[in-house]
Symmetry: C2
Subunit: 245 residues, 2 copies
C-alpha cells in the first residue's frame, strides 16, 4: 500500500531561501478552438461519438477511415461541418490526430501514416483488451502500452494518450448534453498535454486532467476492463472523476 501522496514534493514547499518563479497555474490552458482535429477510426462508434461531440462544441473535425467513401458517409450523418476523408488525407489536414482504431489495426495503421503524422499532435485512445467468457482483460503490448507503441512507431510525432474511458453510447446520444467525466491525459511534453486537456474541456461536462507520463499509460488503457465490469454490474455507462482537483 503506497499512499498517493507519499511522493509529493511541491516545489513551493522548499524552505530554501532561493527565489523561485511561481508554478504555472495547471488550469491555464491554451485556446485550441482554431485547430483542426482528425479522428482516425472515425467511423467506429467511439471515434464517431467523439467526432460528434467535438464538432458540436465548435471544433473543425475530419473523420478518417481506410475508405474515404465510408468516412464521407459517416461525416454526412454527423453534420456540424464534419468532413470525411481517407486516413492519410485526414492526418495531413489535421493539427491534432486522435487515434481511435481497433487495437488489432493499431500498429499497421500508424506505421502506414508515419509521414503524414510527422509533426502532428497525436492523441492515442486505444485500449488493448482481450475478451473471453469471464469478460474483458488487459493485454500488455510489448512496448508497454498502445501509447508507447505509437510513440515508438511515430518518432517524429508528438504522442499523447487520452479519451480512454468514454462510453460510445453516451457520446452518441443526442438527448445527452454533457458528458460527466474527467479525461486523463498523459504525455511527455507539458505544452502538448495541455492542448489535449483544452480539447477535452471543449466538450460540456468533460475536463482534461494531467495524469502522468506515457510510461504510466498502460494502466489507464487497461482500466477500461474494470469499467466494463462496472457497467455490467450496475447497468451503467461509468465515467471517472478525479476528486480534490
Amino acid at each position: 500500500m503506497t499512499s498517493t501522496d507519499s511522493a509529493q514534493q511541491p516545489a513551493e514547499d522548499t524552505a530554501k531561501g532561493t527565489a523561485k518563479a511561481p508554478a504555472k497555474d495547471p488550469w491555464d490552458l491554451p485556446d485550441v478552438s482554431g485547430l483542426v482535429v482528425g479522428v482516425l477510426g472515425g467511423t467506429g462508434p467511439q471515434g464517431k461519438g467523439l467526432a460528434h461531440r467535438l464538432a458540436k462544441a465548435g471544433q473543425k473535425v475530419i473523420i478518417g477511415s481506410r475508405a474515404a467513401e465510408r468516412a464521407r458517409a459517416a461525416a454526412g450523418e454527423l453534420g456540424h461541418g464534419v468532413e470525411g476523408a481517407d486516413n492519410a488525407e485526414t492526418a495531413r489536414r489535421s493539427d491534432i490526430v486522435i487515434v481511435a482504431v481497433p487495437w488489432d489495426g493499431h500498429a499497421a495503421t500508424l506505421e502506414s501514416l508515419r509521414e503524414e503524422l510527422a509533426g502532428k499532435l497525436v492523441v492515442d485512445c486505444v485500449n488493448p483488451l482481450g475478451f473471453d467468457k469471464k469478460g474483458a482483460y488487459a493485454l500488455k503490448p510489448e512496448e508497454g502500452s498502445a501509447a508507447e507503441q505509437a510513440a515508438a512507431l511515430l518518432p517524429d510525432s508528438r504522442v499523447t494518450a487520452a479519451f480512454h474511458h468514454l462510453s460510445a453510447v453516451l457520446l452518441q446520444d443526442p438527448e445527452i448534453d454533457a458528458i460527466d467525466t474527467d479525461v486523463m491525459v498523459l504525455g511527455e511534453v507539458r505544452a502538448d498535454v495541455e492542448i489535449v486537456q483544452a480539447l477535452a474541456g471543449r466538450i460540456p461536462g468533460m475536463r482534461g486532467v494531467f495524469a502522468g507520463r506515457l510510461r504510466n499509460a498502460h494502466q489507464v488503457e487497461a482500466l477500461v476492463a474494470n469499467l466494463i465490469s462496472v457497467n455490467r454490474r450496475y447497468r451503467a455507462h461509468a465515467g471517472l472523476r478525479v476528486t480534490d482537483v
Copy 2:
C-alpha cells in the same frame, strides 16, 4: 479504442421468453458492523489512516505489526477502541484482514501468515510501484498483481483487493470528516466483494464499487502512479469517483 459499453450484455435485456429471477440489487450490501477488522501494516501511514477511519465509524479494529509493542503504541494514539497486536494475533482475531504492508514485504508477510489467514476475508491494498527521478511507475508482479500474488500464496483465504487510491494525509487529518472518493473493490466471489464494499461504505464519503475480477487488479494497483502525478501537478490529494453509478 474500445468503448466501455461494448461488452455489455445485461441479462434482463434478453428477449427470450424464459422467466428469469430479477438481478440482485447491487447496492443491497450486508451489515458488517459486527465484524472485526485487522490491518496488517497498521503502523504505516496508510494502514493507520484506514484503521482510524474504520474505528471512528464504529468498526472494531486491530492493527498489526511485526512488533506487538509498536502496534500497541500506534493503537493507543488512535483511540476509538483500536487494539494493537503482532501480525499473527491480528490475523487470528479478525474476520476481515486488510493487507497494508509495503510491497517489499508483501510476499514474505503473507507466506508467514498462511495458517492464521485461512478462511479469512483478506483485502489486499498493496500497490507495487517503483520510483526514480521521473516519479513513480508501476511494477508488474510475476503473478500479475499484488492481489493475485496474495491469492496464490493464500489458497485457503478469500482474497479481494480494495482501498488502493487513498491519501494517507486525508485519512489521518482530524479536520476532515468525509473522504470524497469511491473505492474500487475486486474479487472472484460476489458475497466477499460485497462485504468489502459495505466496509468501505462505513466511512463517511466513501463508497465501495465492484470493479472486476482479480485478473484486472494490476491496473487498479498501478493507477496509484498516475494519482501521484496528479497530486504533484495539482498539489492535491486526488481520489476517484465512478460516475453514472
